[in-house]
Symmetry: C2
Subunit: 250 residues, 2 copies
DNA sequence: GAGTGGTCTAGACCACCCA
DNA sequence: GGGTGGTCTAGACCACTCC
């Protein structure tokens, strides 16, 4: 049970002290130099231990000031009814629905383009990966109270979206799903595939992700009957988001 | 747009080369020494770049052999019907249901104990955090084909579980949920709260998590009508798992 | 034994914050 | 200006693998 790697033991010791309340929420930890002499190790070793605690979400670092015990994280929650027809007919898209529930101010910047569908999108939309795979791409950066919290890239088949409101930045009240339904694609169900991974540097920068924090990735497919009409790649900071799903027992 | 930090640029360059197929899946990357001289940096800097790619899931390291482009990850999938009554009456618990779908060999080790409920469990189960918070705890380590893939800790109210089969290691066919239903708690729905974070060292060791890979955490609450009868803290490697949810459009 | 990845040390430099 | 966190270098050592 004894760990040989020094930084692991240092991290464990500090974690215990934080749990025990030696350093309370928001308080500063001892500085790098102090920890070096206390544990008798080099700067890098202390840094590794702190990096671990940062990755766990226990510690926050502020350049030039110090390391701080983090306060409890703010929770933005995704409920089930965000995808309900009721929300759409009330004029709210999914993101707006979250904003209304969470009482924060939403903002979205959109870039529209035509592009090639990635492989997984091809298989969902039923496009031959070797053939024509042009799709309409809606690339969005979403903010809550001025901070970027979510990246979303939607892929729509050309024969569905070309020349419609879906190729404009503002899709209007109720969002893209409302427009799809007006066009006769009555949405029947959605599939969400949830996974987690570490962010690419660009994502980390955009989402202002603290060191070591993973992102949650959701691939949502919107179905109108048997037909998949949209694939949405959603990336969000795991620090800001928790996903809530309700499953009925039959 | 120019990044100043060397390891970020090195990681980006290597990522491009992997995407372009210079190094195909399963192939070995250049060794540390080679990369050091190619980019003209110190060992640690190369290591940081590789660590980033490992965290993204692109690269796998094998001690004493080298760094390898990872193959596509094996997908263990959680479907919606894993929580269905049909699966339970067929004698399969949720984990067994996954195993049957994924064609791998399940194994579970269980430790039962009485303990204090953590704060979030108290609030779900309606226990006063200041008062009596003893619960029955089922601590499980789950394996697929001999590898640990999931940790799960269930909390059950004492007045529900005490002295029943739920306090035994083997809950019998259909698992704990089947027993709850036999006891008159007809399960109506489940809530799953999904989040992601970096693993604690102990979790990383148990789950054999590659460096930097986050874990997915699911808190599942089982309801019999209005009453929450079980809270389950589930931790799994994001490398092994993808969660699939289906949402009906009303 | 030679090569590999992984970690630790010691010392340096930078950007940032605060007095 | 002195302290802070963050990173890079150079060199060392260990465990592991392959020959």
């Amino acid at each position: 049970m004894v760990q040989m790697r020094p930084w692991v033991e240092i991290a464990e010791e500090l974690r215990r002290e934080i749990d025990r309340g030696v350093y309370g929420p928001g308080e500063r930890l001892p500085s790098g130099s102090e920890l070096m002499s206390r544990f008798g190790v080099a700067r890098q070793t202390v840094q590794n231990a702190i990096d671990q605690l940062r990755a766990e979400g226990l510690v926050l670092s502020v350049a030039g000031r110090g390391w701080f015990v983090s306060e409890r994280k703010p929770i933005v929650r995704l409920a089930r009814n965000r995808l309900s027809k009721a929300e759409r007919t009330a004029g709210r898209g999914t993101f707006m629905s979250d904003a209304a529930a969470g009482k924060w101010k939403p903002a979205v910047t959109v870039k529209i383009r035509r592009g090639q569908a990635p492989e997984d999108v091809c298989s969902y939309l039923g496009l031959d990966p070797g053939g024509e795979r042009e799709v309409v791409v809606r690339d969005r950066v979403m903010c809550a109270d001025g901070e970027v919290v979510q990246l979303a890239v939607s892929y729509l088949p050309v024969d569905v979206a070309a020349g419609t409101r879906l190729e404009e930045a503002d899709t209007g009240p109720g969002g893209a799903y409302a427009r799809l339904e007006e066009m006769g694609f009555e949405l029947t169900h959605f599939t969400e595939v949830v996974s987690a991974r570490s962010p690419r540097p660009r994502e980390a920068e955009l989402l202002q992700i603290p060191f070591g924090f993973p992102v949650i990735q959701v691939i949502r497919v919107a179905f109108a009957g048997d037909r998949a009409v949209e694939v949405n790649h959603i990336t969000m900071s795991s620090e800001r988001y928790q996903l809530v799903y309700q499953i009925d027992a039959d």
